[in-house]
């Protein structure tokens, strides 16, 4: 369970998060939605300890994450932009991350098969296309089988086949009872894999509930229209 209490964060004068309170219970798949620059990535990075909030606390299974690092063993993270050391080969990168995580068991082969990455294992990361890099990124995120999975825009750059593969992987993780936090702009994807949605607007949580709740509240049958409705209301 992840518990976020009154998180504030500003980058110099730009106030990104203005008091976010959130509880993510175990075994839930939650989508983090919101317009560009609304603070989704900042919120995710705060949970990972990469961004240090100005105010507020974050608890992971009732333990404060401040100044901790071992808690990250329970988290698999997919960064938004797949930036890797360019002079490393794909298999070297995978080996290195495995080595750095130490004793964790990894089943990278399963995901290399799923994303058909075998032909690329011996290529340097700098020579890969954006979509292939994203697949490598996904392999790194899923191979450790940790109880919490955080995905920051997992669909970016993926072709339709890989998108289907990704959906299946996420659904499989849900069956295993894992906690998922996914930020995305593809509404059909969110609707297919998430139970709950959380809408961030101007640094605060504007809506938090199930997709059905959202449809009821906005009187829209279609999820995309419901979100658009929410956005319009937010702007008004």
């Amino acid at each position: 369970m992840i518990e976020i209490k009154n998180i504030h964060k500003s980058f110099s004068k730009n106030e990104v998060l203005k008091g976010v309170d959130l509880v993510i219970p175990e075994g839930n798949a939650i989508a983090v939605l919101g317009p560009n620059g609304s603070g989704k990535t900042t919120l995710i990075k705060s949970i990972l300890g990469m961004v240090l909030p100005n105010q507020g606390e974050i608890f992971l299974n009732t333990r404060n994450i401040k100044k901790g690092w071992e808690y990250r063993k329970q988290i698999d993270y997919l960064p938004q932009i797949a930036n890797f050391p360019n002079n490393l080969k794909v298999f070297e990168l995978i080996k290195m991350i495995k080595d750095i995580r130490g004793g964790d068991i990894a089943n990278e082969n399963k995901y290399i098969d799923l994303f058909s990455l075998h032909p690329f294992l011996n290529k340097k990361l700098g020579n890969l296309s954006g979509g292939t890099k994203q697949k490598v990124n996904l392999v790194l995120a899923f191979m450790f089988d940790s109880p919490i999975i955080i995905l920051d825009e997992p669909t970016s750059g993926l072709d339709p086949v890989s998108l289907l593969v990704l959906k299946d992987i996420i659904l499989e993780q849900k069956v295993k009872g894992k906690t998922l936090l996914i930020s995305s702009h593809i509404m059909s994807f969110v609707e297919a894999v998430c139970d709950k949605v959380m809408f961030i607007w101007e640094g605060k949580i504007y809506f938090n509930g199930t997709i059905a709740d959202l449809k009821n509240e906005t009187n829209e049958d279609d999820f995309e229209h419901a979100i658009a409705h929410l956005l319009k209301n937010a702007h008004a």
């Binding site: 990972l48 930036n83 050391p85």
Partner: protein, 260 residues
């Protein structure tokens, strides 16, 4: 931390620039020794090169590696690793591989020449030790500058400026102040002023070991009295060590506070 050190070290060992750096010292060592045929003279010439070049290389490699490994660093930050061990590990990786290039590059020609049979072995070791210290000092400072500046151009600028200040401008200011205040006793002042700059400190340390302080007049005698003794040597090495320690502590402090 050791794992990060290992990967940074291997990463650099595989890069072309480490070899260029290593080959440069190798060539320099051979040329100086076999053309000069005098170890002491070779050590003095080497000192003049090392005192300027080693800090420059430490600064450039440090800042370049820091900015180039930004992606790698971000990847590591999401892993169960301590923040400080990521940055200190990378720093030690860079500084160790640079020092290794220096020590092997100069060590091999001197070994071939037969340094162990020569009386200059101590001077030569001191040269390598100060070269190592200078590498660690300037790499640490450039890492700190990198951590403090998101903007690469600014970071590069500050790092080069710092090197220029320490290697060139500092001496100028020092000389001007000596001329301006020549009416006053300046021994203590010049001792402290040369302690405050690792480049000057290294230069004096080596020069005095080479017994050419007689050329430097009265101040030389004062310096000889201080640096020439083993107490002076210990204090100087201690100061050089502080010059490593303080930037490393600054890196640690900055790394703990930064957002990524």
């Amino acid at each position: 931390m050791l794992k990060i050190l290992k990967y940074s070290f291997y990463d650099l060992i595989r890069s072309r620039w480490s070899y260029v750096y290593f080959a440069f010292y190798l060539l320099l060592g051979f040329v100086l020794l076999f053309l000069n045929n005098d170890v002491s003279k070779a050590v003095i010439t080497l000192m003049n090169v090392i005192i300027i070049l080693v800090p420059l290389m430490g600064t450039m490699f440090g800042i370049m590696y820091f900015y180039n490994s930004k992606e790698f660093t971000e990847l590591l930050l999401a892993q169960p690793l301590k923040r400080t061990s990521i940055f200190i590990g990378q720093y030690l990786g860079v500084a160790t591989s640079l020092s290794l290039s220096l020590i092997l590059g100069l060590g091999i020609p001197f070994l071939v020449y037969g340094i162990f049979k020569s009386e200059a072995i101590l001077d030569f070791s001191l040269l390598l030790v100060t070269g190592g210290f200078l590498t660690f000092i300037f790499t640490a400072i450039s890492f700190y500058i990198g951590l403090s500046n998101e903007n690469r151009i600014k970071g590069f600028g500050y790092a080069i400026l710092f090197w220029l200040f320490m290697a060139v401008i500092y001496d100028g200011l020092f000389l001007i102040s000596l001329i301006l205040f020549e009416e006053y006793p300046l021994d203590t002042f010049s001792l402290i002023a040369s302690m405050a700059n690792p480049i000057d400190l290294s230069r004096i340390l080596i020069l005095l070991k080479l017994d050419i302080s007689a050329l430097m007049g009265y101040t030389g005698a004062v310096f000889q009295k201080f640096f020439g003794t083993s107490w002076g040597l210990i204090v100087s090495l201690g100061v050089l060590f502080l010059w490593v320690l303080i930037p490393v502590l600054l890196i640690r402090r900055k790394a703990l506070k930064k957002d990524f």
